[in-house]
């Protein structure tokens, strides 16, 4: 499948992307990085890179625009995770950074959020792409750079860990 964008002005395309995908990408980056400022950096960088790569994407890219943007976002988050700053700070504690839960939210949703954030990054990544971004297995494989069968197995393991954490309490099972 080759995605093509109707012949609109590049800045219009960018604006449409930011409007349509900006918030979910921001939230995905936050779950990956557990840091508001870094996530904001990551998602803005994502759109800048996407704009610069627009011509290449329009010519022939095997992704949907959503998958393509997710690939850029995932790689940008990976870049950020390399910084000393990121490595130094104890990200496991950042679960507490999650904005407060609205009062009507059920406790099981709070537990699920904590469990997702407590997952090791390789599982968190596939959970986000599959469940949150609704991206199909084949595209997830391309985004992360692993085989489709590895996507399947990682998702299976991620679900298993989530179930385990929800049964025991996220903090007991996190790594």
């Amino acid at each position: 499948m080759t995605a093509r964008i109707p012949g609109s002005h590049p800045e219009e395309v960018l604006e449409r992307w930011m409007t349509a995908y900006g918030t979910p990408l921001f939230r995905m980056c936050y779950v990956m990085l557990k840091d508001y400022a870094l996530a904001q950096d990551a998602v803005q960088d994502t759109f800048i890179k996407a704009y610069k790569g627009l011509a290449e994407f329009q010519n022939a890219h095997p992704f949907s625009e959503k998958s393509w943007l997710n690939k850029i976002a995932v790689n940008t988050c990976k870049d950020l995770r390399r910084s000393a700053w990121f490595r130094w700070v104890d990200r496991k504690t950042a679960v507490e950074d999650v904005p407060q839960v609205p009062a009507e939210t059920a406790q099981d949703r709070l537990d699920l959020m904590h469990a997702i954030l407590a997952l090791p990054i390789k599982y968190r990544e596939v959970i986000l792409l599959y469940y949150y971004e609704n991206i199909k297995y084949e595209d997830i494989a391309k985004i992360i750079g692993i085989s489709v069968s590895t996507v399947h197995s990682r998702l299976g393991k991620a679900r298993q860990r989530l179930r385990m954490m929800l049964e025991r309490g996220a903090s007991d099972a996190s790594e």
Binding site: E11, L14, T19, G22, T23, F26, R27, Y30, V31, Y36, A37, A39, Q40, V43, Q44, D45, F47, I48, Y51, K52, V74, K78, L80, R82, S83, A84, W85, R87, W88, V89, D90, T93, A94, E96, V98, P99, Q100, V101, P102, A103, T105, R109, L112, M113, I116, P120, I121, K122, E125, I127, Y131, Y132, N134, I144, G145, I146, S147, T150, R159, R163
Partner: protein
Amino acid sequence: MRRNDIQHTIDTHLSSIAFTGQNQQAVFAAIKGEKPMKRKMSFALVLALIIALLTGVALAIATWHHHAEEIARMEAEQGYYFEWEADSRVALVRHLVEGGVLPPDERTARLFSGSLSKEEASALATQIMTEWSEIREDAISLMSILEAVWGRYPYDWSDEDLVWYTDTLEKNGEKLTSRFYLPQGGVLSKEQAIGLAMEYVKPLVNYPQAVWDTYTATAIYESQPYAGTDEPYWTVRFHPSPRWTERTYIPSVIIDPRTGGIYSDEVNLTPEDALKDYHETIAFWGSMPIGYARFLPHEERAALLSEELGGYSVPDPTYISEEKATAIADTFFQKERGYTDAQMAKLTGYAFYRAGFGGGRPVWIVKYYDESVRLPDNYMILSVDLYADTGEITSSFPRE
């Protein structure tokens, strides 16, 4: 596990996180080559400046801090704006006006007149807030308001505002991940911390001066209560200028404010350190595990790369050896590409064996790294693929 569960959970918990009009402006500014994070000066900021000029900067800041503390307390007690009753929404707008950051106008006068029903007041307050802060109703929060006034957290905030922020959160019983301080008591100054960090990082990352000249450094004096310490330290970060250019990440440097000691683990990263957490790291890097795997013996490389990338295995002894493959690659770059002995001597070659690649034939992939650049995965300089049975070159990087 259903999709809806996870989507709803994330969207509910992170409802305060939204890609706003300000974020969009920052992106557009970046692609136009402007310095993007400088916000367009809003009427609110103009008003704040006028107040500051008329009544004194200190008084204006104190006034705004007082009202912002009230907003923080409301958020701590009532949750986020989208959950608030009409009276609280009106009170918020009043705090912004009285704090000198939102200019009063006909709409605010109508809002404060008491003539509106709760529904009308709530709707008008939301309209005023979303227009002023340029974000959606469900993303309005103390942080979004403070960013609308001061710019991006933490980079654009003053040291005093950062200290005020964490003090305020703590007063409201919130757990802090960072606490900010003003340097006191004979510790290193901000300028000294930046100087030490640059002196330390420059030779380690090896960037030419022309590249360095595009960077600016910022320093924040902070502690990490959750990491088990309230001892403050300097964190010096390096940003390309303008910030939103295609960036190369220079490691941040953590500095002991009393001794000048450096705690930047990334720039000290040895191969052994890199391997400490390689299972998680390599899995995460996805397309870049080879950079880490080069430090492993063949059996472990194969196991690791097979899981992450597929197709790697231990070398088949009936085909050409690792040494021979590396020698072929050396010759290729020297004879075909003109690399000198001196250039090649600066690089270290690593051979990776991959079965079933290249039309089913096994290949050796020989990659050369500049190990003088002490970052683990990003400095592969040359690469060549060759058939493991014949030694024939199949591809190379960079291409001719």
